[in-house]
């Protein structure tokens, strides 16, 4: 539904150049909610603004719903008609809502309909219908200043849907909202995604947003996509930085003479009493250092950091056993072993599985540690393994 190939954007001013996008290739499937996460300054806003050509990319192409937008005429804001028509079919919502204070709620929703050239009665009917869809039918005559943040964003969403878009772009749409309002707005986006088959690309710096609504996610750092994929697959991918940040495990790393193991339970394994079975069958004293249970992308996921007595070599059998149970097993300490050089500190090409250098904001602290050089002990097919 949205495809970018090798997108770059360089901002040039008199004395310096900023490469905001550095070869971004992205593929968003029809009907999915795709989250792009990254620190402030990673290039997320630039990316989303390139998708409807508010910003013209320096090179690369953007295709939305089969139309190559970069081939359409006009610079960013001097868009010619075909590009303007394409934009009218792409909804966009913003962090600060961007509603006109001079218009009523209904008037705001009517603006895109005016641009589309609808008649007065048709506009009015459609605007009320859209307000009903976002649960604000009773606020039609209010002015934006009279609404709460969550209500304003709902108006923004209604307005974005006016052109019957197949794609909705959201730039930090919940970042100005409190956690509860964020949840309700994300719930609305989820509903619209399901009911209307709306493809949603959302930008955020909050892991919770990705965790709550996204089917797929990409991690951005310094203008590049560092990692991307379906959220459920990422969680099953050992060494995935996104997975670590989606779901960080707490707890200190192992002392000398002990082996620290991070386990991820998902799908059917989430409820299994694996640890007690390990203790029983292998006669090992397992210490649980940290653990958490959460819902990611609608699935239950558990994370646990355990410590086993003895070195890695002493625990090969136990680790093999854990793998057989269908868990994702990672050994955070393995990165320091000889012969497994740490990734170069800078300029590693994407996707470096775990350079730890550019952990996304939010839980960066904990996640960065956990992600640092995490090494894999193979856990293929963990998803369906125990199903």
């Amino acid at each position: 539904m949205i495809t970018t190939t090798d997108l770059t954007k360089v901002y040039r001013s008199r004395d310096r150049e900023v490469t905001a996008l550095d070869g971004v290739s992205l593929h968003v499937r029809p009907g999915e909610v795709f989250g792009v996460i990254g620190r402030s300054g990673a290039g997320k806003s630039t990316l989303i603004r390139c998708l409807n050509l508010l910003e013209r990319p320096t090179s690369g192409t953007v295709t939305v719903d089969g139309v190559d937008l970069t081939a359409l005429g006009g610079r960013g804001h001097r868009a010619r008609r075909p590009l303007r028509q394409a934009r009218a079919r792409i909804g966009m919502i913003f962090q600060h809502f961007n509603l006109l204070s001079s218009r009523t709620v209904k008037g705001n929703v009517e603006l895109p309909l005016e641009i589309l050239g609808l008649g007065r009665r048709e506009r009015s009917r459609k605007a009320l219908e859209l307000l009903d869809l976002v649960g604000l039918a009773d606020k039609a005559k209010a002015y934006p200043a009279q609404l709460s943040g969550g209500q304003k964003q709902r108006v923004g969403i209604a307005r974005a849907l006016a052109g019957d878009p197949k794609v909705l772009l959201s730039d930090e749409a919940t970042s100005a909202l409190d956690p509860e309002t964020t949840r309700s707005v994300l719930g609305l986006l989820r509903d619209l995604n399901r009911q209307l088959g709306l493809t949603i690309l959302l930008i955020t710096h909050e892991m919770d947003v990705v965790k709550t609504v996204c089917d797929s996610a990409a991690l951005m750092a310094e203008g590049r996509i560092v990692e991307s994929g379906a959220v459920s697959e990422l969680l099953a991918t050992p060494g995935s930085r996104l997975a670590h940040e989606l779901f960080p495990v707490g707890g200190p790393q192992g002392a000398a003479g002990r082996t620290t193991v991070d386990l991820t339970f998902h799908g059917a394994t989430a409820g299994d009493p694996v640890v007690s079975r390990l203790a029983r069958t292998h006669g090992i004293d397992v210490s649980i250092v940290g653990a958490a249970l959460d819902t990611v992308g609608g699935h239950q996921v558990g994370r646990m950091r355990i410590e086993l007595p003895g070195t890695f070599e002493d625990n090969v059998l136990a680790i093999g056993f854990l793998r057989e149970q269908g868990l994702t097993v990672e050994l955070p300490a393995q990165a320091g072993l000889p012969g497994q050089g740490a990734p170069p500190p800078d300029g590693a090409p994407p996707p470096p599985p775990a350079s730890g250098r550019t952990a996304a904001a939010g839980r960066a602290g904990e996640a960065g540690e956990a992600g640092e050089g995490a090494e894999t002990v193979g856990a293929e097919g963990a998803e369906g393994g125990a199903a």
């Binding site: 009218a88 600060h96 961007n98 006109l100 200043a145």
Partner: protein, 223 residues
Amino acid sequence: MTWEEMRPLLEQGTIDTLYMTFWSTLVAVLGGLPLGVLLVLTDRGGPLQNLPLNRVIGVVVNVGRSLPFIILMVALIPVTRSIVGTAIGPTAAIVPLAIGAIPFFARLVETAVREVDHGLVEAAWAMGGGTWTVVLKVLLPQALPSLVAGLTTTVIAVIGYSAMAGAVGGGGLGTLALTYGYQRFEHGFTLITVAVLVLVVTAVQLLGDGAVRLLARRTRTSG
């Protein structure tokens, strides 16, 4: 001078002043509004970025604003004569008044339009809107309270200039005050004339403030 003698003079003077002010302001709005909007649109990063044009308009506006009105008026006498046929009287005064007020209002329009949040412009672009949409449906409506405040300031400035125009036979309350006060030593009459001017200015200010309040009401949270 008796009140019976003063009344018709004051009435005619007020009418002339309002007449000059109305037409000059109308021309100032018709000229200053597009100029002010163009100053924003053609500026760096604006949707119609055109720096040479922007500079030219900026210089013209600055020169127009910094020229003392009395000099502008005298300098424009040939122009006025060619347009109106005479350089004396209220109608003739409209020409320099309007030309003086255009750059004045243009700057106020520029300031008002610049204050509009750029995010709103981006939102209009994202909906598929072009420059016209941005100007007519976003910039001007959003700037309306500030524009009305600027209009009030302009009207009051024009009333002030029009009194100055009286010095060279422009007509209106200014001419009355000068001819009767200075030349015939009717100081009482001059005072009354000035009082009427103050009254007119106050009325305009109150009217303008009321309009701005009405427009700004919807941007506040209560109501």
